[in-house]
């Protein structure tokens, strides 16, 4: 029995490395994407974003505020204008991505105990710039405000400055970022994308190779080989075994090499990683086996799943929370293994979760795997019996 299974698996593995389309999807895509995707984010954070200051006050305090902004790590003050229109034009020319407007009479109003508003304008198309510029400028402006408030408290309540500082902010907060202490963008985005890449390339690859169906048309010469004429169960499990072993090596490659090269956090323990690999790959392979029975042409799955890559990524619940999506979309996302696999992988590999922490997600993946296994076997039997003249699978 095992010999027959291995024979099928070996034949499928051979096919993976001899069919050019399979090589492109199941070997090259997995390797290229592992390096191609993290490279844009290699510097991890955005720093020295070109910005400007519109100084309508032109006093010692406004110049202090400008100097403070110049010293901020996230931004680089490229110009100081006296007219807002100049800053708007510079932003339209892409010379700057945001600017701060220091209002007229700022110093006078602050000294006169009137509140002033400092306006910060960021480019509406770039989310990262919005965050970086907004944080840098507002920290500087609020620091100027805080310094003056402390002085006002000290003078009005007649207390020493240390007490005035405590009175201004009696319960200060300290923010600690867990599992991504540098706040790196690559640490956040790439590990999740790698799981989606594994899923998409494996599903398309299985579909391109015709899943478990008998007499694949594109293997005309092999039609009489005993391997192609095995019973449906042997074909199903044998070919699944080939994909499983092949993709286990990819998970190992990502964990040991890609994570090391790009210095991503690697806290995964052996047991949860092994269990994750088994249930994730089982779920994806069985899903691929089901989908592969639907198409008549080898390329159709590619065309469909390439379109789906963007929604699949966002349905994986790592960049946009699932509770903010309409419920019917969340329901659709339960069809995809990545919906449970991405959070499980992040918990295991990035956060060092133990098997109990990720058990609920692994159960869901296992349930998916079982449902798709039953469907896959059923559809393979149906497909084997059907006579279809069109298509190449």
């Amino acid at each position: 029995m095992i010999k027959r299974l291995l024979k099928v698996a070996f034949a499928e593995w051979k096919l993976i490395y001899t069919d050019p389309a399979a090589v492109l999807l199941l070997v090259v895509a997995g390797l290229i994407y592992a390096f191609y995707y993290p490279v844009p984010y290699i510097y991890q954070t955005v720093s020295k974003v070109p910005v400007a200051v519109v100084d309508l006050d032109n006093t010692a305090m406004s110049r202090d505020l400008t100097r403070m902004a110049s010293a901020a790590q996230q931004i680089e003050v490229k110009s100081i204008y006296t007219d807002m229109k100049e800053a708007e034009a510079a932003m339209a020319r892409d010379e700057i991505y945001g600017f701060m407007v220091i209002p007229e009479n700022m110093e006078k109003d602050i000294r006169g105990k009137h509140q002033v508003t400092v306006n910060i304008f960021t480019h509406g198309a770039y989310v990262m710039f919005h965050g970086a510029i907004g944080t840098a400028f507002s920290t500087c402006a609020l620091t100027v405000g805080a310094t003056n408030k402390v002085k006002q408290i000290a003078l009005s309540k007649k207390v020493p400055s240390a007490k005035a500082i405590a009175m201004r902010d009696p319960i200060p907060i300290s923010i600690q970022t867990l599992y991504n202490s540098t706040g790196g963008y690559a640490n956040y985005v790439v590990p999740s994308v790698l799981v989606v890449i594994l899923q998409q390339s494996l599903i398309i690859g299985i579909c391109v190779l015709g899943g478990s169906r008998a007499h694949r048309r594109f293997r005309k010469k092999m039609r009489d080989s005993p391997v192609e004429n095995e019973t449906a169960e042997y074909r199903y499990f044998g070919r699944s075994l080939a994909f499983f072993v092949h993709y286990c090596s990819f998970i190992l490659f990502y964990h040991c090499i890609v994570y090391n090269i790009f210095d991503f956090p690697r806290r995964g323990e052996l047991l949860p990683m092994v269990v994750f690999s088994i249930v994730f790959l089982s779920s994806v392979i069985n899903f691929g086996m089901v989908i592969s029975q639907i198409f008549l042409r080898r390329e159709t799955s590619m065309q469909l799943f390439l379109y789906m890559s963007i929604p699949v990524l966002f349905l994986a619940n790592f960049s946009w929370p699932a509770y903010l999506m309409p419920q019917w979309m969340t329901a659709i996302s339960y069809i995809l293994p990545s919906t449970f696999a991405v959070p499980a992988w992040l918990s295991i590999e990035q956060m060092g979760a133990d098997i109990y922490d990720v058990a609920p997600k692994l159960y869901q993946l296992a349930v998916q795997a079982i449902i798709y296994l039953i469907l896959g076997l059923l559809l393979t039997h149906v497909r084997d019996k059907a006579k279809i003249n069109a298509g190449d699978m």
Binding site: P20, A21, L25, A29, V46, M91, A92, R93, D94, K113, T117, V118, N119, I120, F121, T122, H123, G124, A125, Y126, V127, M128, F137, S138, L142, G145, K149, Q152, S156, K163, M167, D169, P170, I171, I173, S174, I175, L178, Y179, S181, Y185, V189, R298, E299, M302, L306, Y307, I310, P311, L315, W320, P321, Y323, L324, P326, L346, Q350, M351, V358, P360
Partner: protein
Amino acid sequence: MVLNGLLKTVQKIYLNHNIVLLMILVVLPIGVSLFTMGMFSSQIVQHVPIGIVKQDNSRLADRLESKLRSSPVLNIKTICSDMGECEHAVVRGEIQAFLVFPNDMERRALRLEAPVIPVYSSGQNYLTNMFATKEIRSVLAAAGSEMFTAQMEDPVKVQIHSVGNLKSNYQGFLVLGLVTAIFHLAAMIVGAYVASFPLRDHRVKEMIGYAGGSRLTLWVASVFPMNIVLWLESLGCYAYCHRLLAPLSFEEFVMTAAAQLFMIAACSGAGIVFVGVFGLMRMATGAAGIIGSPAFAFAGQTFPVMAMPFAVRCFAFILPLTHVLMIQSTMMLGDVDMNPAWHSMEILIAMAIFWNILGAFLMSMRWKQHVRLETKREETAKLEAQA
């Protein structure tokens, strides 16, 4: 004669009940775009689940908790008995952040010892982490300032405006770009499909026959309808998505529409070039997918191009998507200065011309080669039949 051949070829390619073509040309681009828009329908981040470790059970702690509860951005999902419990909840993905009200917080605050409230947030949830910590900071700072200096206003107030996206909604930040990226990929896939299916089905001779023997007519009949259909779809989806932002002026609309047209022409041309190079639909589609699928990551809308390594910046430059997004983002700023958009437009036009000329040349060669192969095939079949 030429027009007749052109119309007949268009009919044979596009109106021949080809379900796959219908799916990839019409159903999937529109469907996936609308689906993506729907995902961000809540527009802003709200109800971020957080936890609290209440080591201090004072009135101040209760007041802070109720203030956090009243924030629409936050959702206090759990009150943990210790830090370990909250940390495990973060690992399990149940909460995104937690804060600790330390022992004797109220007493120490009243004695002006400024007890620090630690806030732990998950760095694996970049977006929600950013919103949650910002909100926690502002809620606690407001609560703190009420304790001793309630009568005293903060001297400086800060207002952050996102130009062209006043509500900072994520349909504006992300979805406009995503929709364009979907059509960027769609044009490559459809280009590869339309150019390669006659090769795959051995119908090159038949198609050239419909085109009156002219390869130029066949090329025009293959390329123009898909570009026009995809362009109209992309305009429709873009306009639908843009309805939440400030309306575009006529000039801005023309500029955006032209940019999308040249992007689609360049991308479909690139898809055709892949067919010309590989000669196989699955290889051409695979290449289109490998280049087109992650294009959005390189185009600079999520992570700025200026912060990428030089080699990646060069790659981003050759992607039409980067230039379209630049034009779209310039249009968001209103009628300030259109000159930078013209520069991107020139690049897009050059790309569209380059990919289409190269595509036409390579396909012409492929068609010639396939006509020869098909003739040989027919002759062999005839001989076999005679034998």
